[in-house]
């Protein structure tokens, strides 16, 4: 017998306004299901960045992307299916992070954040659609509601 896992589903155009509204809904959903603040933030940020990239480069402004977010005991798993141009977010080049303000390029950080915050990131092109799946590790919800960051 399987245990039902909390699941959020939606479809959205990849416009900035729609993405903002969607990520707020996702954060409320994750908070309501006891996901810690840090994982909630990471999941919303990864979702935002993938959709923002789709809106900027996907060349499919009229075709909504389908979103699902599932709360598992140890992680949050998100899936985005879109009809944009084929794009594997794992293959985008890393930005140069050690440059000065003068030399620092504008942009290129979104997919880097996606790769750094996800514990797994998978991609497949299926039936003419991009299927991007990410997972965010859950931490222990602390009484204070926040946890120190642990990035390296």
């Amino acid at each position: 017998m399987t245990t039902s896992q909390p699941r959020f589903e939606a479809s959205t155009l990849a416009t900035p306004e729609a993405i903002s509204g969607l990520t707020e809904q996702v954060m409320a959903f994750l908070d309501a299901h006891g996901v810690d603040v840090r994982a909630t933030h990471h999941a919303a940020l990864v979702l935002d960045e993938i959709l923002t990239n789709l809106g900027t480069h996907g060349d499919s402004p009229d075709r909504p992307a389908r979103i699902s977010i599932v709360v598992q005991p140890d992680k949050v798993v998100g899936e985005i299916v879109d009809a944009g141009a084929p794009f594997d977010p794992r293959l985008a080049p890393d930005p140069s992070l050690d440059l000065s303000v003068d030399d620092r390029a504008i942009g290129g950080l979104g997919l880097y954040l996606v790769r750094k915050l996800s514990c797994t990131l998978e991609y497949a092109r299926l039936d003419g659609e991009n299927c991007t799946t990410f997972a965010i590790s859950r931490g222990k919800a602390s009484p204070e509601g926040t946890q120190n960051n642990g990035n390296s």
Binding site: I19, S20, P95, V101, I106
Partner: protein
């Protein structure tokens, strides 16, 4: 996103509240950018009320910093929440910008 500005000494202090994402970043960059009018400007952005920053928001901040530097000025950020600080750390902004825990520290650094 709510944006409030005030002048403290010769520093323009911007207090932002809300989400700095793709839906807010252009307005944020325009509004704060319009405050950079004098030579050698001093700009402090107080992030105490900002709880969500995406790469679009980072882009807006970087544009503002570049603009301040091009005008011969100085820039600082203060009161950054933990969740936002982590994003700044990951993207290398922490080492690139002048970031202070308290507003007073940031104002002192800009005055120095």
């Amino acid at each position: 996103m709510e944006i409030h500005d005030e002048r403290i000494g010769d520093t323009c202090v911007v207090t932002a509240k809300g989400r700095l994402d793709g839906g807010a970043s252009a307005t944020f960059a325009d509004k704060v950018g319009s405050l950079i009018t004098s030579p050698n400007p001093k700009l402090l952005i107080d992030f105490a009320g900002v709880d969500f920053v995406t790469s679009a928001g980072l882009r807006a901040v970087l544009l503002l910093v570049k603009r301040v530097k091009a005008a011969g000025g100085s820039f600082a950020l203060c009161c950054v929440q933990d969740s936002v600080r982590e994003v700044l750390d990951i993207t290398g902004f922490t080492g690139m910008l002048s970031i202070h825990a308290a507003r007073g520290d940031a104002l002192a650094a800009l005055a120095g």
